[in-house]
Symmetry: C2
Subunit: 418 residues, 2 copies
């Protein structure tokens, strides 16, 4: 019996290490003589029958993929709705999979993607098509259920903690005659995981970051400004980390400049740091600078966490193993086996336990005053940023990131009219 092919697709926002997962998937599948097709630009490529033949890539290229940020095959922000609402797309997807003898579908994304993989699995069963659907976890937001953490988060967390510490050293040196308040805007729509990671930059009340604004707590401007003032008076300067998703007590996003909705229906954000900087300047008359690292924080492969890279590769390998071991509608998850020393293993979870759930930050991770993290949060976060895994650099001083050939396989179906 021919084993059939494996289709791998990336979904949603990419990370510094999602390609490490892809590299591990391809490496493990090759070892087991399974051909890996990769959907161009995620699920859209699967629908359009734009399938990349990864067997055209050299072993060296697949190794280099493991240290290359971004999404090597392309990703997309497209969420399939319920089977009832989106039946034509699900059926087209199965048609493409069947045409290319795909028996294993690995969908690398967040909770929306887990949901899609689950639905595809159910519909394949309904159609009597033998398809194994496996989710592969990924998100800098660290908001997936069941898994202890999400590949992509650890590296973004390390970037955040290191960047905040470095900028704080700069601000400290200049604060007497220059910037007194520095505001760092961290990603995180609903959960303040990356803002919490910034807390690893320092310890004690006088070390930066002095104030963290979490989406889990309402933004209280008067209280915030009083605290900024007190810290500047005491320490000489104040470093603030603010989640892009902070909201007022009335539930309004503090900065919905550039507002709008993306394909997942999320509000698109952007201007918290500049807003807070303006308030500090106007209300306190202090010189303020701010930073919006934006995509830099999730693409900074040069500062990846070794733990995170290890996780990302392990879930890729495990996903292939689960697929070939007869599992279906499962997802590899990371389980923390022990805290000190930090040890972890990969387990398998049902997709339905991950699909569309969102893991929020435990209440005991936030300090009582709401402006910092607790020791419990440090204990959880620190192992995730541990270890360095720098990319190789070229003679030109730049990281040696790879570009794949991305050769499409020949289409077998009429064009998709979706």
């Amino acid at each position: 019996m021919r084993p059939g092919n494996l289709l791998y697709a990336q979904s949603g926002g990419v990370t510094a290490v999602i390609n490490a997962t892809a590299s591990a998937v391809i490496t493990e599948a090759r070892a087991r003589k399974i051909k890996v097709l990769a959907a161009r630009n995620g699920i859209l490529g699967a629908l359009r029958e734009e399938l990349i033949d990864t067997s055209r890539e050299s072993a060296a290229a697949i190794r280099a993929l493991a240290h290359t940020p971004g999404g090597a095959f392309g990703s997309c922000r497209v969420k399939l709705k319920s089977v009832e609402q989106d039946r034509a797309r699900y059926e087209r997807l199965l048609e493409v999979l069947r045409a290319h003898d795909v028996r294993y579908f690995l969908y690398n994304g967040g909770n929306d993607s887990a949901d899609t993989a689950l639905k595809v699995s159910k519909l394949a069963a309904e159609f009597g098509y033998p398809l194994t659907c496996i989710g592969v976890p990924k998100t800098v937001d660290n908001d997936l259920a069941v898994t202890d953490c999400c590949p992509g988060f650890g590296s973004a967390a390390k970037y955040t903690a290191v960047s905040v510490r470095e900028a704080a050293l700069d601000v400290a040196a200049m604060s007497e005659t220059s910037t007194k308040v520095f505001v760092y805007e961290a990603m995180g729509r609903h959960a303040g995981w990356l803002s919490a990671a910034a807390g690893l930059a320092g310890k004690g009340p006088d070390e930066a970051p002095h104030l963290i604004l979490f989406p889990e707590r309402p933004y209280d401007e008067a209280d915030f400004l009083v605290r900024v003032k007190k810290i500047v008076d005491r320490v000489g300067y104040c470093v603030v980390v603010a989640s892009e998703g902070i909201r007022t007590a009335e539930g309004k996003f503090v900065a919905d400049a550039g507002a709008g909705k993306d394909a997942f229906g999320h509000t698109q954000l952007g201007g918290v740091a500049s807003f807070l900087a303006g308030r500090v300047k106007d209300a306190l008359g202090l010189k303020v600078h701010w930073t919006l690292p934006d995509y830099l924080q999730r693409s900074a492969r040069h500062l990846a966490s070794k733990t995170d890279v290890d996780h990302a590769m392990a879930v890729g390998t495990a996903a292939v193993r689960q697929a070939l071991s007869g599992a279906n509608a499962t997802i590899p998850v990371i389980k923390r086996v022990s805290q000190a020393p930090y040890r972890w293993k990969i387990e398998s979870a049902p997709l339905e336990k991950v699909a569309n759930h969102e893991k929020t930050m435990p209440a005991n991770f936030l300090r009582k005053d709401g402006y910092g993290i607790t020791q419990a949060a440090r204990d959880y976060l620190e192992p995730l940023i541990r270890g360095e895994a720098p990319p190789p650099y070229g003679r030109d001083g730049m990281p040696k990131y790879c570009t794949l050939k991305n050769t499409l396989v020949k289409k077998k179906l009429p064009p998709w009219q979706g």
Copy 2:
């Protein structure tokens, strides 16, 4: 004869490697049995007689200083005016130097600092006080005259090129359904050196950055928008790098949000990327993201250029040697001896050739269309970002940056009433 002490002071914006210079100064002076005092918060500390006794720091701390960003003794944005206008401050400075038997004054900064060191030198001669004044170059702006490049610039340049390449990989992967235009704001008030460095992120018209906006060319909005549109149509996305200092044909800063003047009289900038993003969104209706790395770009010691660290340490060592060799009113400068292979050496230049001059970018570094860099620019820039010099990391995943004791020496004078 007692050799006298050496006073080292940092001036203006700090960098990822100014402490490497400080480390080299202290190491070289220790080897020659010269005691190094460091002014707390730059020239202000010298005026207030707040002098740090660096002999209290361990050899290990001084070694660690070489990989620690920020300014370990503090810096400040205070420019002394002419001797006529600011006579009381110059005289106080000489009084403090004399009280602490300082015979060598090393001032580590940009062209304003070179000017101050020169004036102090002249006044000391006028007063018959035997003082050697040496400038030590530093600035991420790379705008000092005579020297081939400025310590601090190479690391900021490497940060810029690597960050733009990483973010571009992210944008490329997501562009079909998400962000089409990404704007990166680089530091550089008058000269586009850091924006030019971003050009090292890619080659050819389809590689990011696709458009660079230099302060050397007037911002032509209509032309810019047409180009963005064309690139998005051709490549699928467009990465723009904009200098904070770009101006319209009328000479107005494109973004003088958060305006004001700093102590040097420079206009304070900040919002070019967000402004351009807004224009792209409104005029072209494209989804756009932007980043303002701000201080992250000049404090990112984790991504320092090895060449830059070598330069920074070499000018520190050379400054001490110049001081002890009987030179006065000089500054060590970097001379490029050969391009391929890149070789350099330190020479000595008169302070007056550096003081208050500003090196602009050679005209042949900018592409004819004004939106990119030439091969000549690449040849100049590339050696400066070459090599990696990462800091050691701790078990906690964070760089091991040092904190000095910064013990002040006992004051000998009445408080400064300046």
